[in-house]
């Protein structure tokens, strides 16, 4: 049952991506790429790229993209619904608790406690993207021919620009795209 699988898979992504922003990445990778194989690692990275440049949260974007490709518009609707369902229930419950007791410190404390794990999981997902970008063959290899040096150069430049000048990531992505087109087509 593909619809049930889509719903359940994105339900878990919605339920366990705690900490906002990039927290959904490791979950999407684990569910969509590793468990079900609905996307390749390249497509996963493309979705993150697209999400940087279009409005909307990454998880919703991924749900729509994967749903559409697996089972058309109905699939997209089911996956998106699965993704937002847990948030809606939990957020309303928390709001109820908050208005009743004016206290959600236990919840907030637990979430703060989760922060280190969230960072680690995003790092792990990010590292797989680094590996994919640096090694076109898809595996870490210790020979110079296996490394895509252009990608390494673009990565280093983009990272430096982000760290030093705190530029908006959208511009960094555009720059990386232009650099990719220019350098790869010259080679």
């Amino acid at each position: 049952m593909i619809f049930l699988e889509l719903f359940w898979s994105f339900f878990q992504i919605g339920l366990f991506s705690v900490g906002g922003g990039y927290a959904a990445l490791p979950l999407i990778q684990s569910q969509v790429v590793d468990t079900y194989g609905w996307m390749t690692m390249t497509e996963f990275t493309d979705i993150i790229t697209i999400s940087q440049m279009t409005p909307g949260p990454i998880a919703i974007n991924a749900a729509t993209f994967v749903g559409t490709r697996i089972a058309g518009p109905a699939g997209a609707a089911v996956a998106t619904l699965g993704c937002i369902f847990p948030s809606c229930i939990i957020v309303l419950t928390l709001a109820f608790i908050y208005y009743k007791y004016r206290n959600i410190t236990m919840v907030q404390g637990t979430l703060k406690g989760l922060q280190p794990a969230v960072v680690a999981l995003i790092a792990s997902a990010g590292l797989s993207i680094v590996v994919m970008s640096f090694f076109p063959a898809g595996e870490i290899a210790l020979s110079a021919q296996a490394v895509d040096w252009v990608a390494v150069g673009i990565f280093a430049a983009a990272f430096a620009v982000l760290r030093i000048w705190k530029v908006n990531p959208i511009w960094v992505m555009c720059g990386a795209g232009v650099a990719g087109l220019a350098v790869y087509s010259l080679l």
């Binding site: 366990f16 991506s17 906002g20 922003g21 990039y22 490791p26 684990s30 390249t42 990275t45 493309d46 790229t49 697209i50 940087q52 279009t54 409005p55 909307g56 949260p57 919703i60 729509t64 993209f65 998106t80 847990p86 948030s87 809606c88 939990i90 957020v91 928390l94 709001a95 410190t105 919840v107 404390g109 979430l111 406690g113 989760l114 922060q115 794990a117 960072v119 680690a120 999981l121 995003i122 790092a123 792990s124 990010g126 590292l127 993207i129 252009v150 990608a151 673009i154 990565f155 983009a158 990272f159 982000l162 990531p169 795209g177 232009v178 990719g180 087109l181 350098v183 790869y184 087509s185």
Partner: protein, 197 residues
């Protein structure tokens, strides 16, 4: 009676349209939407007080899932009850839903174009850098806490996920339990000393 129905309809429509616009023009996702929502709902429409917006933001951040979705459920619920929550969620997910549906339909043809392929290859390296930048900033904040437990959790979670391929959900659940126990212990210790955490 008839008059209040009309008023209600207009409120729903206003809620839908303002949330739709917010969602359609918020790029990069995440916390970017919060200041924009504040400007719209607190300053322009006067639907909420500033304090309440801050509290709603705290709740939205404490809930799993996309920040923009959580915040719009809360604002919609505050403004017009459950139907309000439904309307504002719908308005929030519609723009990315429509855009990504179109992209998904044309993705394969688009991806096979040689120029697009090279641009995306460059962007892959760019996105890797963006994520690394986020990780460095977030990780630095963990070290700045100057406590040993968060650092152990961070290293442990990374090793579990990267080297041992342990399921992400399992890692999160275990760390949530550890985090809850730690919070409870610190809160109790804080009470004994008569000060707040």
């Amino acid at each position: 009676m008839e008059k209040s129905r009309v008023k209600e309809k207009r409120l729903y429509w206003k809620l839908f349209w303002s949330t739709f616009q917010l969602s359609a023009f918020t790029f990069g996702g995440g916390y970017v939407i919060v200041p924009l929502m504040r400007r719209k709902f607190v300053m322009n429409l006067h639907w909420l007080e500033d304090d309440e917006m801050l509290d709603l933001t705290a709740i939205a951040q404490s809930t799993p899932g996309a920040m923009a979705v959580n915040a719009s459920v809360l604002v919609g619920y505050r403004v017009a009850g459950l139907s309000g929550a439904f309307i504002s969620v719908l308005a929030t997910i519609l723009p990315p839903f429509l855009i990504l549906s179109v992209i998904a339909l044309f993705y394969t043809q688009f991806r096979d174009n040689w120029a697009v392929n090279l641009v995306l290859k460059g962007m892959q390296a760019g996105v890797a850098a963006v994520i690394c930048d986020v990780v460095v900033s977030m990780g630095w904040n963990i070290f700045k806490l100057r406590r040993i437990l968060p650092v152990i959790m961070m290293v442990g979670a990374f090793v579990a996920s990267w080297f041992f391929d342990i399921n992400v959900v399992l890692v999160i659940l275990i760390c949530a339990v550890v985090g809850a126990i730690d919070t409870w212990r610190r809160e109790r210790a804080g009470k004994k000393e008569g000060k707040k955490l």
